[in-house]
Symmetry: C2
Subunit: 211 residues, 2 copies
């Protein structure tokens, strides 16, 4: 199948959404947990979490600003400055998926979707108990992406919980040992299996690939 | 394992790099193909490609600006305005990985790593023949991320090649049918297997999760 820019523009909207949401490759499956300043908790699925740097340890994610549709995650982060990012294990993909339904602000998706709030080390925002790798972040910047009216939220890692058995001496983490899921498109969840690992690539150590 | 911000700051540099590069979850494995205005081709692995929007169809990726270290991909995109993004199949993870070695600008990683340039539909930048899902993009914006001196390159999709058998009527693409890889950390490659798919989540159609 070969589509040009014009084919994409003239495609039926839902089909375009499904196709274009799949072409970046596999996306990470995370739940973002927040709490409003009035104490109302919220949890929502995001597939746009991105590594930005390791020193300081920064992660980004993309959201739309609050406009016609309220964006509780964004509002809570702006109000309090704190949020959590939690890897979704494949076993709770169904619960995690339904956090994307637009419910009233006074309904917590934790309760609605059978997920459990967890508070660790006095961190203000709720972690998700059913997740095994969990990160507490502090908002550090908000970057408008003008070409399509989205925002990149940037946070620094303040708390990091990783299952012991999945980390080796060098700091390599095997995501498959705690069943972290990937997402393709808007609604398909994948399991992950490690297949290969290679050393840091130095110019004088490139294998002979028969060229 | 529970690490605080201070633990992360005081960790040995390489271990921190490995850990923090893994905590965002699975990352997409893509090769970005470019050509300088003088005709020198380049191909490099990136794990930061991100879906930004489907209408217009926009993808982003993160790079460092050219400073002490030359960034051939970035320089070529700035010079010509065009580039390709190609899904890495697990079978060529080794070749793809070694494109990250810093070679001279007059050496093409295509040749160095046993990958094949492919030109499609008159598109200016080289696709990677060994990849099955391939995207031709035009640069539309460049967004400085000041907190850690990186840049998000934003491009619009102009050409999109997807294996026929992997797309269904609704536009769902099964990434496992052409063995698209995921990456965790800096050097571990994962295979993907679909495990579940759920409909668009409407508030009145949330399953009873026993709460």
């Amino acid at each position: 199948m070969h589509l040009t820019k014009s084919d994409i523009e003239h495609m039926e909207r839902k089909k375009r959404l499904n196709i274009i949401n799949s072409v970046s490759g596999i996306k990470p499956a995370n739940l973002i947990g927040t709490k409003s300043k009035d104490g109302q908790t919220n949890v929502a699925i995001f597939s746009s979490v991105l590594h930005l740097g390791s020193n300081p340890a920064l992660l980004g994610f993309i959201t739309r600003p609050t406009g016609e549709v309220p964006r509780h995650t964004y509002e809570n982060i702006k109000e309090t400055g704190y949020y959590t990012i939690n890897h979704i294990p494949t076993a709770i993909a169904d619960k995690a998926h339904y956090t994307s339904a637009k419910v009233d602000r006074d309904t917590s998706e934790f309760e609605q979707c059978g997920l459990t709030e967890e508070y660790i080390n006095g961190f203000q925002a709720p972690f998700v108990k059913e997740c095994h790798l969990k990160i507490g972040l502090k908002l550090v910047d908000e970057l408008p992406i003008q070409v399509n009216d989205t925002i990149m939220i940037i946070g620094e890692i303040e708390e990091l919980i990783i299952p012991d058995a999945s980390v080796d001496d060098k700091g390599y983490i095997d995501l498959s040992l705690f069943n972290t899921a990937g997402i393709s498109g808007l609604n398909t969840y994948y399991s992950l299996a490690p297949v290969a690992s290679f050393p840091y690539a130095r110019p004088n150590e490139i294998p002979d690939f028969g060229t």
